[in-house]
Symmetry: C2
Subunit: 353 residues, 2 copies
DNA sequence: GCGGGTAATGCAATCGTGTGCATCAATGCA
DNA sequence: TGCATTGATGCACACGATTGCATTACCCGC
């Protein structure tokens, strides 16, 4: 195949060498001219830039990365992009990365720790400068392996049972958020409050449940273990919490709670459907509080009172922290405070019950 | 700074040269051994692979890409990842790309054609093998520029007023979907049907509206132009169609339609809220049909009858088509058929009206 | 007129892999 | 024993860009 060498391959995109030939200078001069090096005379610089533009030159970021040993690229690992929560965090990451000249690799893992490690391995091969992992399921022993890779990593809302230690992390304050929800329910008069949790996000579930227990105790109420239902979710997709919430509420109804605090909005929406199916009116017969404040929460009937997570902010902060790590600056983990969004799914308990 | 050169820099990750030194062979031998070349003797191959594994070798994909002139990387351009529609298509793309060894760059453009072109330019610099653009806003004259880059591009649901010509595309059949919705409304007895459209997705809006008009005419009904309201949306975010839908319905109510076909579910949800605010019961006083079948559609009250787009399938197909383009195989554009999902927001018109 | 300084450019190495070609040793065959 | 063949390995270049250092030409001052 002599053709390949003679005819400059199949028409590959032009390089500084091509420009150098056209301008009758060395490729070093072209490189310097394009980078506005003061070493190059004004005329030559202008001429080279002119020619480069005419030839439609596009710098090859791969070659630059190889030389600079920096790709200006980060990897983002999410459970699934189809979940609006992760989508919003992803948006926060992406919109912060882009202006900084960083491109984002996206990889989904569907809650499987092995796939998560595989995704990180792929990113490492691709020489990303850093990695952000949302709701990591990687446990402590693998953590150690990660730290040894020396790749800057920021974890968001880690779900490892050990919490976000050892790695830089940005977390939502699950305990404080749950406390807000419970204080609200207690303040408007509820005393028989149930909790619907979920099994496949162990860390934040534990924190929210702990706040639930503590808030009850602080109000002088002895928690009834029967009022806590932790839905057994598949370790995988976590696609649909709604039916889990519906089933959980069905189990709870015979115990006559006047309010339910749900681990998240999807469970709350499921509970809402179940309540309606059982002929109960929300909030008249039953108050419901969710967690996350996903967009759907405001569109269901009645609109959901919920603990709002600053999802975009989680993503932005994670990206900012990673950016500082890349610059070699010191970074401390952050904990963000959630807010309570009051809507129409909560009200005083029914006096006639 | 002699240290840098003497002490092998700051501890950079190990390369085939390091393995070569440890195994007392040349780096070519290492390269061949790791790639299972038949040129290498069995013992040497085993020894090299053993040492590589012990030293924790990770191949440098950047260097490979430079050499192979192929990055096994694609760029995905979306309007905004926070919209569940784009998130689902993205999921389809990602889950199809990963098993094929392709990594996905993600970039959001917020509906700005200039940002879209900038994103594509960045991807070109990064030498992606191909690009998928969802709901492109790039018009014909820029299209031509794109085609000349010779970069394989697949567009999904292009919104250019000229349609998806000239580039490989996968489109939803907007006309057929809208026709399904209209046939349903006409069949159950509606004759005074309104249309709520949107201005910033001109192509699909035009197709859906055309089907609306044609279906009316086919039923012997002369379309009343006053019953068509096209909400003027910002060219930018397209974040919230809900208030647009609410406002549009408020304008339509004095004209007494018995049913409204909405360009998408978000507009329909806004219309639903507005109807409720005006004391109208859905579907008793007003039937509503949306388009997309986003997750929220099934959780509002009443659940929304809507035209379901195969969102994941759109993403998967786009990725499969790009894959074939990369392999140099011939590819023809595809048009996917939507389905009608019947729920509770539609019913026969109110006799007493 | 010559040495020294400065401005502008080219040479060559480098980043980490992949591979055509040359080299070398061992073996087989005459 | 000598030569051809085969198998295994190393050398060197390529991919495209950046950059330290050498080189060249020019100008200035003594």
């Amino acid at each position: 195949m002599q053709r390949r060498t003679r005819e400059a391959a199949v028409s590959r995109s032009i390089s500084i060498a091509d420009i150098a030939r056209a301008a009758n200078v060395s490729h070093s001069t072209v490189s310097r001219a394009l980078r506005d090096s003061p070493l190059i005379s004004a005329e030559v610089r202008a001429r080279v830039q002119q020619i480069a533009s005419e030839m439609g030159y596009v710098p090859n970021a791969i070659a630059q990365s190889l030389k600079e040993r920096r790709t200006n690229t980060i990897g983002l690992v999410v459970t699934t992009i189809a979940d609006p929560f992760y989508a919003d965090v992803t948006k926060g990451v992406e919109e912060t990365a882009r202006p900084a000249g960083l491109s984002v690799f996206l990889s989904a893992t569907y809650g499987d720790p092995m796939q998560e490690l595989a995704a990180i391995e792929t990113f490492r091969r691709r020489q990303v400068d850093g990695i952000i992992v949302i709701s990591s399921r990687i446990e402590a022993h693998h953590r150690e392996r990660l730290r040894r890779t020396r790749l800057p990593i920021v974890v968001v809302n880690s779900q490892a049972s050990t919490g976000g230690h050892a790695l830089t992390s940005v977390l939502i304050d699950d305990y404080a958020g749950a406390h807000l929800a419970m204080r609200h329910l207690l303040t408007i008069g509820h005393r028989r409050i149930a909790y619907i949790g979920v099994s496949n996000r162990p860390f934040s579930n534990e924190r929210r449940h702990a706040a639930y227990i503590d808030a009850l105790r602080a109000a002088g109420i002895t928690p009834d273990p029967a009022l806590t239902v932790v839905a057994q979710a598949d370790p995988g997709p976590e696609a649909d919490d709604v039916p889990l919430g519906a089933a959980a509420l069905t189990r709870l109804l015979p115990l006559r709670p006047t309010a339910v605090f749900c681990y998240n909005d999807m469970l709350a929406i499921g509970a809402l459907q179940s309540a309606r199916a059982h002929g109960l009116s929300v909030p008249k017969h039953l108050s419901l509080v969710g967690f996350d404040d996903i967009a759907t929460a405001q569109y269901v009937e009645p609109p959901l009172t919920t603990v709002a997570q600053p999802r975009l902010e989680l993503g932005r902060r994670a990206m900012q922290m990673l950016h500082r790590l890349l610059a070699g600056q010191p970074v401390t983990s952050a904990v963000l405070k959630p807010d309570l969004t009051l809507r129409a799914s909560t009200g005083p308990p029914d006096r006639n019950q």
